[in-house]
Symmetry: C2
Subunit: 250 residues, 2 copies
């Protein structure tokens, strides 16, 4: 009875390449190592491969868009948690823009509204998007974990967790390119969310990188930054994996 | 493009039967309604059906026991969170026993140690149990959500969430009966955890019920108790569902 699970490993997410950190990295080395986490980003998850190869069924697409709204909706809450832990007014003034981007300046604007319109474009009635009836409890827990993380983690590390945006422009560009090609039934206006993020994400990334480069100058704080980005990468992977499993077509 | 997901519903967990609560329930009615949540307990999850029908592979069994340790390990932490929010020394004195049950009074004792021994009995090396290398990120997040819930919820509601133990003796008895019958390769001593819970769980349930019956006497607090138990039921369902999906045999 000495069989080990190692003989038949699970499809656990690919581990990010954590550097050795035998000394503090320079800001440029730190940024390069953070960018190196790209290989573990969920763009490579099987569900996304199905998406970009045009192999998602309409039901899978709808399940994805309905569940993923739960994530869009926690983003301003996690940004509020970061604000609440940050003592620097200059950082807060700039970070605030992320909340405005998601919530809009008035009803009917902002990233959350654009995501709901994407859902409608994919055939999920607005009411069913808004009341979250299709959101899986596991997806809800995963999304809430991001808020909890940002509440309970020092603000610089919480900022570091947002650096998955380093890798997001590729995923948004893939969607803008592949949706019209493979899913001609999706109306053009459904892509507005991704177009808006192509502008916002690079600006957010520059701000996040400035914070992490400036504040994470010791082995301990750099390790914490890598751990925070690992948390976020695993969170996004868990999210898509849960949706993938719930909407399998077998 | 008006297709609704309602036409092809997901296998979301069965919703617990929340009573109408047009008036406060009597303590006996409250207890009966809480017991009525049994129909949504994860004993009915397909993974558990496979388990009790003798149809789990050794790898599935090992994946289950290795991941489930993460849950055993958060239990004393969530009980500490409840203690930290509870102002009543009498309640705290009694609640403390749960922490002792899981951690033991000295190394080598307690429910966590018995669970590790179950893992070893199922063929997972102790080292691989203890370092949690097989624990899925989603499982870790789900378990942590229980600690966060108990930290951030008033203590009476957090106590109510523990009332899934109302339904646990059946699951423990099923395991004690079905493991030797269907899985003769599991050594007898592997069942020690379940035998210990057959004694502890009914005592915990009596304490939890006393608290909820005494403190939840209004529509609002009763609704909160039902919501707390729903949270926990969905948490356990998410846990087994994630393990089930990760270790599918296809």
């Amino acid at each position: 009875m000495t069989a080990s699970l190692a003989a038949s490993p699970l499809a656990t997410p690919p581990k990010p390449p954590l550097p050795a950190l035998t000394r503090p990295l320079s800001p440029d080395e730190l940024e390069a190592a953070l960018r190196g986490f790209h290989s573990s980003y969920y763009v490579e998850h099987p569900f996304h491969r199905l998406m970009y190869e045009g192999r998602l069924t309409r039901r899978q697409f709808q399940g994805w868009v309905a569940n993923r709204l739960a994530y869009q909706r926690v983003v301003p809450r996690k940004d509020g948690a970061i604000l609440s832990n940050c003592p620097d007014p200059a950082v807060r003034r700039e970070w605030l823009q992320r909340i405005v981007d998601h919530d809009g300046s008035r009803p009917g604007e902002g990233g959350i509204e654009l995501w709901i319109r994407l859902g409608v474009a994919l055939g999920v009635p607005r009411e069913e998007m808004e009341d979250e009836r299709h959101v899986l409890p596991t997806v809800r827990t995963i999304c809430e974990s991001y808020v909890w993380f940002c509440k309970s983690t020092p603000w610089v590390q919480a900022c570091a967790s947002s650096l998955t945006e380093l890798f997001a422009p590729k995923i948004h560009a893939q969607r803008i390119e592949s949706f019209p090609k493979h899913y001609p039934w999706i109306p053009e206006e459904g892509l507005a969310y991704f177009r808006s993020r192509l502008v916002q994400a690079p600006r957010d990334v520059q701000h996040g990188l400035r914070i992490v480069r400036q504040h994470c100058t010791t082995v301990d704080t750099q390790r914490q930054a890598f751990e925070a980005l690992t948390f976020k990468i695993e969170m996004l992977w868990s999210l898509i994996d849960t949706i993938h499993n719930a909407y399998r077509e077998e």
